[in-house]
Symmetry: C2
Subunit: 214 residues, 2 copies
DNA sequence: CCGATCTCTGTACGGTGTGCAATGTTGTCC
DNA sequence: GGACAACATTGCACACCGTACAGAGATCGG
């Protein structure tokens, strides 16, 4: 609230600027401290005035990624399942749009302000759907797990190309029906494991289970 | 099959030995090439005779971790839900027992032999439960996502202590009911998000949804 | 103006993965 | 048995990385 005036030279940067260029330089994984500093025209050590260590930069990036999926998708007049699904798909898109972002989410506890807001709104959705407080909380966690887990797995798989490429490549593989008969039979579906369609199916299935809990 | 005899000196190591000590040295993350080499009494470059790069070592580690949860838990005469649950909990335990292992699973596609076997058996479980081939495949993926996603999230959270510690710490936090009323109300449950109990609840909920698909 | 306080820099340390040329061992073939 | 090719291993080197530490200079309150 109060801009405390302090002795010493003015700061030439802000923490936000640092995260900005970190995001700009993000490419599969968080950029190096030295890289960010170079882009800012500053010696690497300078960043330690604003961040305790590299991990802090990564944590800040995590919250930035989270904030890229509009949490407002969780509110509105649409039916509750739709709201969850829309938000989940939006977050998935963000994470897949920045390969490595999903993996970064698993680096440290997710406790930023955006995460808190999303949690609150998911609780609201499930409460409005008729679940008890406890079941709403458990369902919230289950949904988070599904979205992040799925996004991370498919991000790892998608490193080799687009969704369509991966499906096509999978389809061309031949599974020995002697060793893995069921896998071979199910292969056309297995090949689509990393598609948005499968993502939506799993999510709907999970939500079905959640409302069963009522 | 045939031990092709080649010119050149005998190899002093095997790829398996390397993975052995990599596993032994594993501590939160995959050990460095140099560390493994030192433990083997060999110069770092030597390892490149057996592995193309560091990533290969990590991929080998992934399959080792996967193999630590007995896939036989997925077969037997017990009711199918019990088999899935037992295996899932076993895998979760393995991953939580080696912090960082879960995150490693998200580094690259999971396509080792153990993964294939687990997939096949999950398909068998769901087929025996009456699901169509397609639904069994989709359910298999949903379960994998849940187990890996959940284990990874709680592994990240558990870095600060045991399960009980984390729950206790969470419970002591005070959530402002003005900003996050539902979160505040649900906090006693939210605090247990990383427990095995929540894991089982989510899994059972997901399985409920899967059988709804019949 | 003085001293406290702060930012930023120079330098340095110990670490990482891995490419390349040299060394020496081992097998196959004449 | 000797020549030769293939190979494992090494020493050295490069280009990075995160970050600790001491000092120089700027900026404030008094």
């Amino acid at each position: 609230m109060d801009e405390k005036t302090r002795p010493g030279p003015k700061r030439s940067l802000t923490a936000e600027q640092i995260v900005d260029v970190a995001l700009e330089l993000f490419d599969g994984e968080a950029p190096s401290i030295r890289g960010v500093a170079a882009k800012l025209g500053v010696r690497p050590n300078t960043l330690y005035t604003y961040l305790p260590d590299r991990g802090a930069m990564e944590r800040a990036l995590v919250d930035r990624f989270l904030a890229m999926a509009d949490p407002d998708l969780l509110v509105g007049r649409r039916v509750w399942r739709r709201r969850v699904e829309d938000y989940a798909c939006a977050l998935r898109s963000v994470l897949l749009g920045h390969p490595g972002a999903a993996a970064l989410l698993h680096t440290a506890p997710i406790d930023g302000p955006t995460a808190a807001l999303v949690g609150e709104r998911l609780l609201a959705v499930f409460t409005s759907a008729g679940l008890s407080t406890a079941d709403a909380a458990r369902s919230t966690y289950a949904v988070i797990v599904h979205v992040l887990g799925s996004a991370t797995l498919t991000a790892a798989d998608l490193r080799g190309g687009t969704e369509a490429d991966i499906v096509a490549a999978r389809l061309e593989m031949v599974i020995d029906p002697g060793f893995l008969p069921l896998t071979a039979a199910a292969w056309p579906v297995v090949a689509t494991w990393n598609t948005e369609e499968q993502f939506r199916w799993s999510l709907r299935t999970l939500l079905n289970g959640c409302v069963d809990a009522r």
